[in-house]
Symmetry: C2
């Protein structure tokens, strides 16, 4: 992403937070993470993140997605004997988000994936989250999500976050901040 | 608390959430916890809580306080060799909250404690939290908080919550839901 892309993305994510009436500090806005997962297609495959807290016990973030933006399929693997992998709870705060997990494939899913990326999306059990809805994902389970037509703001509560360990279905993905 | 008190408290807490534009489900509203800490003085010493998630790794709650309502002084003690006690992050979402922790006493603190309870409040280092502000409290540290004149809504992100183990400065307190 170019600097201009990043500025634009930050602005859009901030507008989503404003719509959700969620206040962040100036420092949090400046440190907001915009990731395109190394695919250089941010508006389609990307995510904006404010990390409120991430310590060795728990983590809390706000995730902002522009309309139809997708966080690509991945899982949080077991890290050690004790750490069975990151566990996370997604809570929709604003907009609508379609979360996909392993299980019976949903017949007519709401998410739309561009043709060229389809082979990297294998979990098709749909969970629709609207404001006040939440879902807790067990560790090491494949998942991905897409915002609806208005975009979405999603709170993520979880165990410690170590993004660099995430395993993506698409081998071209590099999980680095832009 | 009588059933009428509880209904009234639930209604006030729901109104605070509405002001903060935070959506909860009908089930969450029905299961909302109103505690008066066994002191039967809920409007002054009490707290309303929505538990979003509490598992063996992390916990997320929304705390609602009516104007000037106080969560009394307590700490989350070490539980075992591995569990050094609950660690928590308070993030103000709406209103204003005055958090007090161990440290240099603040000269003219904003919180006002009724005379008869004062002896049970010993930590007077003040941290003022407004929307977008947050503070992470180390385990086993004494703390308490009071909402400002408009009330407050505070997100709590933490390690696993086991309220029954909390140690309160006031020995008359019983940490049971009303």
């Amino acid at each position: 992403m170019t600097l201009k892309d990043i500025r634009q993305a930050r602005q859009k994510a901030s507008q989503l937070l404003q719509k959700a009436k969620i206040v962040i500090s100036r420092e949090e806005k400046e440190n907001m993470e915009m990731t395109d997962f190394g695919l250089n297609d941010f508006e389609r495959l990307g995510l904006s993140i404010v990390v409120y807290e991430n310590n060795d016990r728990y983590c809390a973030k706000e995730l902002m997605l522009v309309p139809r933006q997708t966080c690509p399929e991945h899982r949080h693997p077991r890290m050690s004997e004790k750490n069975i992998g990151k566990q996370e709870t997604f809570r929709c705060r604003w907009g609508e988000v379609y979360l996909y997990v392993i299980g019976d494939s949903t017949a007519a899913p709401k998410a739309v994936i561009p043709e060229e990326y389809k082979k990297y999306f294998t979990a098709w059990h749909e969970i629709i989250l609207r404001p006040g809805d939440q879902y807790t994902l067990p560790p090491d389970n494949l998942h991905w999500f897409q915002a609806g037509d208005e975009g979405a703001v999603v709170s993520e509560f979880s165990s410690t976050s170590t993004d660099e360990n995430d395993i993506f279905t698409n081998p071209n993905i590099r999980r680095v901040p832009s």
